[in-house]
């Protein structure tokens, strides 16, 4: 299990690197690389320059280059603020069955958590919760809205 997971994480990183290489001309805002949201509407900040969320492609829990950049900044912020704990909230868009989306949200939140741990954040400081498609941030039924809803949000607990 553990072993499998490491391999699959490695694979995810590899694959997304390749994929991103292929679409480096992704649009500046809105839905870019695949259908991952690359804009900053709906994004909040944990601290100056530290975005609170990362976005995902449909049916995917792979981290993009931009997501990994965001998470490295979050990790560095958390390293500086040792008393801070966070919860990672995983979400899905409305275009999927409820139960599968709960699992997908959990997978996305854990993908982000694993990356924070790779950058030295103890797993004990990061809890995870999936809301599936239950808490959209944007309520429109459009591809842009769905891309903003496919997210993992890092929220300070104390």
């Amino acid at each position: 299990m553990k072993f499998n997971k490491k391999i699959s994480n490695l694979l995810i990183i590899l694959i997304s690197t390749i994929a991103l290489g292929a679409c480096s001309t992704a649009k500046k805002s809105g839905v870019g690389s695949g259908d991952v949201y690359t804009g900053s509407d709906t994004v909040k900040y944990l601290a100056s320059g530290v975005k609170d969320r990362v976005f995902f492609a449909t049916n995917s829990s792979s981290l993009t280059t931009a997501s990994r950049d965001t998470l490295r900044k979050q990790a560095s912020y958390l390293r500086k603020n040792k008393n801070l704990n966070v919860v990672l909230e995983g979400h899905a868009d409305e275009r999927g069955t409820r139960e599968f989306n709960l699992a997908l949200g959990e997978k996305r939140a854990n993908a982000a958590k694993d990356y924070l741990m790779t950058y030295g954040i103890s797993g004990k400081r990061v809890s995870v919760i999936s809301y599936g498609k239950e808490k959209p941030i944007n309520s429109a039924s459009t591809p842009l809205s769905w891309s903003q809803n496919r997210r993992a949000v890092t929220v300070k607990t104390k």
Partner: protein, 445 residues
């Protein structure tokens, strides 16, 4: 439920199978529904009011509920009462068959109610008008406040006699009631009679609740709740209101259903980005892991004999339907059409699996045989999912959401049902928006 309702069957069905001429074929879409006359039940009660019930009106109230049930099937055409030619009491004794045939009725339901020792006594008869004979008769007593269930039980008996299938009218549906804007939905567990009456709320809406499902005796419900922000599978006793967490899992549990014998709950447990399927025995509290795969395994549903499980997994890349033995061995993929598949649920008859399918931006409710062959899509829409079987395996109830505008305007979630023939698609009216329906078994067996 047992506490409040009891039936004493006085007369068993008199069955004249050999001679009856009418028969309703429900295996195909019925474009020519059977004309049926439901006479108001004759009221043999002196007092105007009994236990806050307008006793004199009960006879026509009961017949109206029966008519509404029949109409909802699409198989029967209840005739307008204005054309009825005989008084209820006389028709119940012996109808003048030729007069009823004149208004094109092929079957006639008559009845009589009276009150003895604070109990409501109900008799009814079903008449085959073409053959000029009685097809069925039944009498029972109950508490007067149960008059709606009286109507549903009569409907079931008539449906059973005319179609040869078990009925589904004396049943309830549990669902999630939804109110408020899309980004801040308030969700409560709600329960109603199959015809939309008697809605009751089982939770207050303080925490998010999802996917309620009945146990086989309809006294317990398993569902998912975010109580204290810990998403877990719960068990609720409908009569006592007592709720408890199912199992002691260190992470999210979801997608619960009962085993067909009611002894186990099967569900998913998600940890470290991996969801697998587990069962918990409600008596011994023993937890058993059923799948062990690094993919998402969820939405498990037992076959009615308890020997197999169908479930949803993305082990081949995208969401597909699989079956396996109940110990987790012999897993095999059964969905191979274009698109992705979710929420498989095994028919109470055992032959079919209902599912949600997503293809080219559309959502479908469909059925396939349990070996994956014979896929049939019953209905296409913008968004719909989560089918649940009627207890006789002839209908599916599911929920449908509409597309919303920029600020979430125009969004709604409603319950719908459809025959597995693909005909008779209709909305089940609910007091609020609604999702995640689960159909009970027959309340009186």
């Amino acid at each position: 439920m047992k506490k409040v309702f009891y039936i004493f069957v006085f007369l068993l069905f008199k069955i004249n199978l050999a001679y009856s001429l009418i028969e309703v074929d429900i295996t195909r879409g019925n474009l020519d529904p059977l004309p049926i006359a439901v006479s108001p039940l004759h009221v043999d009660i002196q007092s105007e009011n009994f236990q806050n019930i307008k006793a004199k009106e009960l006879g026509s109230l009961i017949s109206s509920v029966i008519e509404k049930n029949f109409k909802s099937t699409g198989l029967f055409n209840p005739l307008n009462k204005d054309a009825f030619v005989q008084k209820p009491d006389i028709a119940h004794l012996k109808p003048r068959f030729e007069d009823w045939r004149l208004i094109t009725a092929q079957a006639l339901v008559t009845g009589k109610i009276s009150i003895n020792d604070n109990k409501l006594k109900v008799e009814f008869r079903l008449w085959d008008l073409a053959a000029a004979q009685e097809m069925a008769a039944l009498a029972f007593t109950t508490t007067p406040s149960n008059w709606r269930r009286v109507a549903h039980i009569i409907s079931d008996k008539v449906y059973e006699r005319l179609t040869g299938e078990t009925g589904y009218f004396d049943t309830r549906i549990i669902y999630v009631s939804e109110t408020g804007p899309k980004t801040q939905r308030v969700k409560k567990l709600a329960i109603m009679d199959q015809d939309g009456e008697n809605t009751k709320y089982l939770t207050l809406g303080n925490e998010l609740v999802l996917t309620p499902r009945f146990n086989p005796t309809n006294q317990l419900v398993t569902y998912m709740s975010y109580f204290r922000n810990l998403p877990r599978v719960y068990l609720l006793d409908i009569e006592t209101g007592i709720q408890e967490v199912v199992g002691n899992f260190p992470g999210m549990t979801f997608a619960p259903r009962f085993s067909p014998d009611g002894k186990k709950i099967i569900m998913s447990f998600a940890k470290d980005g991996n969801s697998d399927i587990y069962t918990m025995n409600l008596e011994s509290r023993l937890v058993e892991r059923i799948t062990e795969d690094s993919s998402i395994d969820t939405s498990p549903s037992f076959s009615p004999d308890g020997k197999y499980i169908c479930f949803n997994s993305d082990r081949s890349g995208l969401q597909q339907i699989y079956t396996m033995k109940s110990d987790g061995t012999s897993a095999k993929r059964i969905s191979f059409g274009n698109g992705i598949y979710g929420t498989p649920v095994w028919s109470p008859r055992g032959d079919l699996i209902a599912f949600t399918k997503m293809k080219a931006g559309k959502f479908y409710i469909g059925v396939m045989r349990s070996n994956g062959t014979g896929e049939r899509l019953l209905t296409e829409n913008y968004y719909q999912e989560a089918p649940s079987w009627s207890p006789n395996g002839r209908l599916l109830v599911f929920y449908r959401e509409t597309k919303s505008g920029k600020d979430g305007s125009g969004f709604s979630a409603k319950l719908w049902s459809i025959d597995i023939t693909g005909y008779n698609e209709r909305e089940l009216k609910t007091k609020t928006d609604a999702s995640d329906p689960s159909w009970s078994t027959l309340l009186s067996k």
